[in-house]
């Protein structure tokens, strides 16, 4: 084999990144998705600077349920809070829940999938049986029963690691129930990678298993995990919204789902207050569409379909 100098290796890497970007950004969907996500990430990053501090139920600034006006661009809710303000702050809550729970589920999924695929045998059998359970029973259904019970146990007051308890619980529950999909993909990838020569070589040289997994296998799993990770985020947003809509969110730090739940309880749809529930719903739609589009484009880039010319 030819020896690669550090220089040429770096060159190869920039080449690969360049060609990846060229193909990825060739998708119109990727552009749309990235644009939407960037917009909402900015909202989530500095809500205070954009619309001022989160107004709680106590500091209502307007009349009840007034339609959009110059003073309240998106109108007010049933207790006189500014809907725009709520939505911008909701972006932070919703995206935090979605992203952190996705990170958790990726960590669990990669760990389980890689361990399962790398060691095989009995470990694989047991891990996969567990994965099957989480694969078959949807995250939403598990979260639906686990969340209220856990909230009951730890109570709703105080805060845990800087999160309000109900947010913390939702993040944890979504993260720990939606990893099965990732685990399956990672396992099948690991199974095929394990047979490759460089893994064999590393093992012969005496590299320990953890080292092989982290330094040799993990980097090669990145494409698949990234493409599916985007879909996991979309799913997490969806699950969070549905759970909050059912009343499991935190009314004092409302996510978009919580806002929809409040709107529903205030009878927004039947009283014609479209501004109240319209905007948070659109936000959910745009963000999850954004992640789906980016995920699809990544998937297309990493697994190109058949060539145009035989």
């Amino acid at each position: 084999m030819t020896k690669l100098t550090a220089e040429s290796r770096r060159h190869l890497r920039t080449q690969a990144i360049k060609s990846f970007l060229r193909r990825f950004l060739g998708h119109n969907g990727a552009w749309l998705g990235l644009l939407a996500l960037a917009f909402f990430l900015v909202l989530a990053a500095m809500p205070g600077a954009l619309v001022g501090p989160l107004q709680t139920a106590i500091t209502a600034t307007g009349d009840f349920l007034i339609p959009p006006s110059t003073q309240h661009l998106l109108g007010t809710d049933e207790i006189g809070r500014d809907v725009l303000n709520l939505i911008v702050h909701g972006a932070r809550t919703s995206l935090t829940i979605a992203l952190v729970s996705t990170v958790i589920s990726l960590i669990v999924g990669i760990t389980v999938g890689m361990t399962s695929g790398y060691y095989g045998g009995r470990i694989d059998a047991w891990l996969m049986r567990t994965t099957d359970f989480f694969f078959v029973i949807p995250s939403f259904v598990l979260a639906l029963v686990i969340t209220p019970v856990v909230l009951e146990v730890i109570g709703r007051g105080g805060d845990i690691l800087g999160f309000r308890p109900s947010l913390f619980v939702i993040i944890l529950v979504i993260g720990s129930t939606s990893w099965a999909f990732v685990a399956r993909i990672v396992r099948s990838q690991t199974l095929s990678l394990r047979e490759r020569q460089f893994v064999e070589r590393a093992r012969v040289v005496g590299t320990n298993d953890l080292n092989i997994m982290v330094h040799h296998l993990l980097p090669l799993l990145v494409p698949q995990v990234a493409a599916n990770g985007a879909l996991v985020v979309a799913n997490a947003i969806y699950t969070e919204t549905a759970l909050s809509f059912l009343g499991l969110g935190d009314p004092l730090q409302p996510s978009w789902g919580t806002l929809l739940s409040l709107a529903e309880r205030a009878g927004a749809a039947s009283s014609g207050a479209w501004w109240y529930f319209g905007a948070p719903g659109l936000c959910v739609l745009i963000v999850s569409l954004g992640f789906v589009l980016v995920g699809n484009a990544l998937d297309d880039t990493f697994n190109p379909r058949r060539r145009a010319i035989p």
Binding site: D132, V136, I137, I146, P148, Y238, A242, L248, S271, G281
Partner: protein, 333 residues
């Protein structure tokens, strides 16, 4: 000989699939049991709190005994729980004082089955057809419109769609009712009117669930069809002189259906969450509304019952699609 070999493999597969289903169900039950015991307070209080007012002290005591609450957690209580659950005894509701959870669920089930069933049938028919057509004519104008709309529908929370539908068709236009499953005035009407009233109430909630599902089915059916179109056997079919309609019906349709069947199991979570939240929007008197009431009233026995029911239906749905896949695809038989 080949036939019996084939038969052996098929029955082994069915056995395997069934075993996995039972195992999953078992794990659902265990999770249910454990969650139950984690809640602070005496489980007997929790289980029987709802029954207090209407059940005598002796009855409570006998119930305690039959649940084995005086014995160790594992294995006695677990086994007891499993056997009582198996007999359909799910405890008493907190909120609906003294009512048995199993009765509550059975009472609410038909409304949900009607809602989800109609939505699912419509979604499969429309979604799969549209998706297969879009994949067959991919790149065309119809394909662009259909797949764009589907991706958007797929990303929309169905309950929000429900709220929009209520706003437009009920509040603004006044065409269709946006609340409940029947009007009180029509409850005593004669059969045609009664049916018409029920149907009118069904339209919006069904639409809210079905539209999201259609989005999903279109996305998957289109992707499946786009893959099938590039397969070598499609070139063979063309070479054999089949018309494009014959190619679609004889060679592409069934092959494209395979990934769709798998999808049905993958999106059960979507169907369940969609049904529950949409029911809540429309105050539809089904399992979904019951769940919402249970979550908000911390009515754990009902929540547990609902979880068990959902687990059971999901496992059964998985089993059915697994077996259906075996029928459609000779390679896994």
């Amino acid at each position: 000989m080949a036939g019996s070999l084939q038969g052996g493999r098929t029955s082994r597969r069915i056995g395997h699939v069934t075993f996995r289903a039972i195992l999953t169900l078992f794990m659902v039950a265990i999770l249910n049991f454990l969650l139950f015991r984690v809640i602070p307070g005496d489980p007997a209080d929790m289980l029987l709190a709802g029954a207090r007012n209407s059940v005598s002290a002796e009855q409570i005591e006998s119930q305690r005994k039959s649940w084995g609450l005086d014995r160790p957690l594992i294995p006695d209580q677990l086994l007891n729980y499993l056997s009582t659950t198996f007999q359909g005894d799910l405890g008493y509701s907190f909120k609906f004082s003294g009512r048995r959870v199993a009765d509550l669920i059975l009472e609410r089930l038909p409304a949900t089955i009607a809602l989800v069933g109609v939505a699912q049938v419509i979604a499969i028919l429309c979604g799969v057809m549209l998706g297969i057509y879009a994949g067959w004519r991919r790149g065309g104008a119809i394909d662009h419109v259909v797949s764009g709309t589907s991706l958007a529908l797929y990303s929309t929370p169905p309950f929000w769609l429900g709220m929009v539908l209520v706003l437009v068709f009920s509040t603004a236009l006044g065409w269709l009712p946006g609340y409940g499953s029947y009007s009180p005035s029509a409850a005593t009407a004669d059969l045609p009117d009664w049916l018409g009233d029920r149907a009118r109430h069904l339209v919006l909630p069904v639409l809210a669930i079905a539209l999201g599902l259609i989005g999903q089915y279109v996305v998957v059916a289109r992707a499946a069809m786009s893959d099938v179109v590039t397969e070598d056997y499609m070139v063979t079919a063309r070479a054999k002189g089949l018309t494009s309609g014959q190619m679609l019906m004889r060679h592409a349709f069934r092959n494209a259906l395979l990934p769709v069947v798998t999808l049905v199991t993958l999106n059960l979570g979507y169907i369940v969450s969609g049904a529950i939240t949409v029911e809540s929007v429309f105050a539809w008197p089904g399992i979904g509304s019951l769940t919402v009431e249970a979550v908000n009233g911390r009515d754990y026995p009902v929540l547990q019952g609902v979880f068990l029911l959902l687990g059971l239906s999901i496992v059964v749905a998985n089993l059915v699609t697994d077996l259906a896949y075996g029928i459609l695809d000779p390679r896994v038989r």
